[in-house]
Symmetry: C2
Subunit: 292 residues, 2 copies
């Protein structure tokens, strides 16, 4: 079933993410909803939506300008734009709500039930969800990013003791993007250490990992997929050959199994999915630690 494809020149539905702050929430939530209708970027890389981000709409005047731009687009497209809004100020939201587009006020439905439960009025603070750039939590996040960069690819074995999470696995199995994501989005000090032929010959994990077992997470990947990724980096090399990949993956799996490290396959998982799984397991381990 295809979505209603009346639309603009490119046949795509116009979609707006409007916020008084960065628009991250409107975009994340809006995209999740659109995915339920098969709207968004598809496997063949075509997209059946035309996205527009309108951040920092924090006054009636800006809301009016946003509404005009959206209405013009609706006229041009001959079909209503979809407008995902996280405007918290009621009068600013009301101004945008006059749009010809389908106005979806993401906050309004939930403020009421929360007010009743919390016995408290919402503060309607514009941009209240900002990570405040001067809080201790924010500073830890910046430190975590510095840490993930400094320790990437096993660069600083002397700093592994500081890690919240250490990812291990063969070269190009997904360790670096996952480490950076855990640092940026969750403020975790995430290091990563590659398992290399030298480790396989010795038949042991790198020395630097000793004593860190509770924080280590193994990543693995299908040989064909790894080969494809390595081909992108060093085409035609022995390093990228599927046979090399298969052998390294098997040897890494054996090393990790011997050390009691569970392995997560990255073959068809996104960075978000790998990170969510790592966090889930980390929480379970910490819980088990507390119960013990």
């Amino acid at each position: 079933m295809e979505p209603n494809q009346r639309g603009n020149a490119t046949g795509a539905r116009s979609v707006y993410f409007v916020s008084d702050s960065t628009g991250v929430t409107a975009e994340t939530f809006g995209r999740s909803l659109l995915a339920q209708f098969g709207l968004g970027r598809r496997r063949d890389d075509a997209s059946n939506v035309q996205e527009h981000r309108l951040p920092f709409v924090d006054s009636i005047e800006k809301a009016r300008a946003a509404r005009r731009a959206i209405d013009e687009q609706c006229d041009e497209d001959g079909v209503r734009a979809l407008v995902f809004s996280t405007l918290v100020d009621a009068s600013i939201a009301a101004e945008l709500g006059r749009t010809k587009g389908l106005f979806l006020d993401l906050f309004a439905s939930f403020i009421g039930p929360l007010e009743r439960e919390l016995e408290l009025k919402a503060e309607h603070v514009l941009g209240a969800s900002h990570a405040d750039a001067q809080t201790p939590a924010y500073r830890r996040r910046i430190e975590a990013i510095d840490y993930a960069l400094a320790t990437d690819d096993g660069q600083r074995p002397d700093r592994l003791r500081e890690a919240d999470v250490v990812l291990v696995g063969v070269s190009r199995c997904g360790k670096t993007p996952t480490s950076l994501y855990l640092a940026l989005q969750h403020g975790l000090k995430a290091a990563n250490v590659p398992l290399i032929p030298e480790d396989f010959e010795r038949g042991r994990l790198p020395e630097a990992l000793a004593g860190l077992e509770g924080r280590i997470f193994g990543l693995t990947i299908a040989p064909a997929r790894l080969s494809e990724i390595r081909q992108g980096r060093r085409p035609g090399s022995r390093y990228a050959a599927v046979e090399t990949c298969r052998t390294e993956i098997e040897q890494a799996a054996a090393l990790m199994a011997a050390a009691g490290i569970a392995c997560l396959s990255t073959t068809s998982r996104s960075i978000e999915e790998i990170a969510a799984t790592v966090l889930q397991q980390l929480e379970a381990r910490r819980g088990a630690g507390r119960d013990a």
Copy 2:
């Protein structure tokens, strides 16, 4: 005004983010809503909520287990937990919905209006919002991360022509976290180039930036804040002295002004806010380019 602080042992309200996928949407959206009630981590680093992430709840059995865990917590706390759910399957959501906690079904309110507008039934695809790990868009994102790492801190001037965005500014003004965020979250090839005393002596931007004007964004920062950040890295150094910081910032501002590069202050902006502003300006420049 303080939120209702009956709560668990630590006086914090229990909050659950429940999803059939990673939980990123539930968490982003739930935190935005909570911020409207002053709930979350505060400036003094204490938090008045106890967050729990329950990802990959994709069966009735898992929903039942999640509900039990939440209900036990409610009993223990003596106050209802807040449950933010992005479960898309109606029967799985219904099972969780029986919780003693306040159940907030983030999708349900919006599916109806979207179905009517799109003349289409929602597909209720579990985890439909996953970035599929094998799509071209996902591959570009991984490439963008590799690119941001390779070109960080001016490391690869020869690769700047590939950039979508080039951030410039003095050392430690926020270039690296912003580049990584733009790559990870938006798939943009974001490079960054530091402006250093050598450039100030020559009185010119680094040669490698020539011809890239449309893609360059300047970052600046208050001297006191920069000094504080640099002190964290090299305490007591000349590099971290507020006078050094002030001089560098002024010279950098002069160089950028001479080159017609607008500057964005990172002093009290989060990574998300800096990135949102860069994206907004990039879109405006591209629009201006099209109109010209």
